[in-house]
Amino acid sequence: MLAKRIIAALDIKEGRVVKGIKFQNIRDAGDPIELAKRYEEEGIDEIVFLDITASYEKRQILLDLVKRIAEEIYVPFTVGGGIKSIEEIREIIKSGADKVFLNTAAVDNPVLVSEVAKVVGSANLVIAIDAKWNGKFWEVYTHGGRKARGINAVEWAKEVECLGAGEILLTSMGTDGTQEGFDIPLT
């Protein structure tokens, strides 16, 4: 039988791991390879790397990191953050990532989801959703949690599944990094 998976998520800025709480107060938390290896040693099933550098000029730093991870790590890993085009996705997969995830670009242009699914396959495409309770519904945020989009996260999750997303990476912005446990009502 398939196992439930424990997935570690690491935020990356200019090739280093950073840690924040509720998407704020970002500080350095170490070398991505070292941390990933430690997680692997402790029995993690998968690792997600979120590049928050979000600057195209610095993409090469990320690609070099992806190559190093692919060489050193023996569990599947997913890479994303600020990805806008199929070209970037091809490069990341070619560098050795098992899966990529989209967030803002998918909300801006849902057609991209189905295009990417066709190119890399649904199995390799994850859609990340950042959500926050707005009093009425779980609202989708993009741009690293800076922009509310007025979209219902549950509806959006259903839509991306139809468009070909293989998995959904859901972050509850209200509890992120607080160590208060999972946001059960949201899931």
């Binding site: 039988m1 398939l2 998976r5 060489e71």
Partner: protein
């Protein structure tokens, strides 16, 4: 030395790191190697086309008794044909490759592998250990004796039990990705390296 056959798809760096040897698509280098690994992701027909120039070299090596390990699609290519596309495989084993039916595809994630017979690849690995899978097709050997391990995939209230490893003489194939299966995967690759 181990030759890891590079078909220009996927990143093989960690396979090489685990096994040593070289990543190559040169038939002379493959000929000189004493073991061969054929990793593979993608479409059966498309990958077989890329493999065409190396086909004879690989078959010669297998016939000479050199240990051969096919990973994922590399295992499927050992069979005669696949429902995925037209054309023949390497035809080392009789049987074909079929699509999962009635269950969610791809079969993706960590699933248990149960050895069906003695196999040096699984030495020191507990029956029921978890390995990482990503695939929509699985092998259907005519000769059930070649099945080295099985896996049970349950989804949508249906259950498919499929061969997750095959083994005969010097020929090994695994449907899962040992290079993505953490400690168990490394142990399996180490077992192959030591053959």
């Amino acid at each position: 030395m181990i030759a890891i056959v590079d078909l220009g798809i996927g990143n093989l760096a960690n396979v090489r790191k685990a096994l040593g040897g070289i990543i190559t698509s040169d038939s002379y280098e493959i000929e000189r190697a004493d073991k061969i690994v054929l990793p593979g992701v993608g479409n059966f027909g498309a990958v077989m086309k890329r493999l065409e120039p190396l086909k004879e070299t690989i078959l010669d090596a297998i016939n000479e008794g050199k240990p051969f390990l096919g990973i994922c699609l590399g295992m499927q290519l050992l069979f005669e044909w696949s429902e995925e596309s037209e054309g023949k495989g390497l035809e080392v084993f009789k049987g074909n490759v079929v699509k999962f039916r009635g269950v969610r595809v791809p079969h993706i994630g960590w699933n248990q592998v149960f050895p069906a017979k003695e196999c040096p690849l699984f030495e020191g690995i507990k029956s029921g250990s978890y390995f990482y899978f990503v695939h929509s097709y699985y092998v259907n050997p005519q000769d059930k004796e070649v099945i080295a391990a099985i896996t049970d995939y349950e989804s949508k209230g249906k259950e498919v039990v499929f061969p997750s490893a095959v083994y005969k003489d010097n020929i090994f194939g695994v449907q899962f990705h040992p290079e993505k299966s953490s400690k168990n995967g490394l142990k399996l690759l180490e077992n192959f390296r030591r053959l």
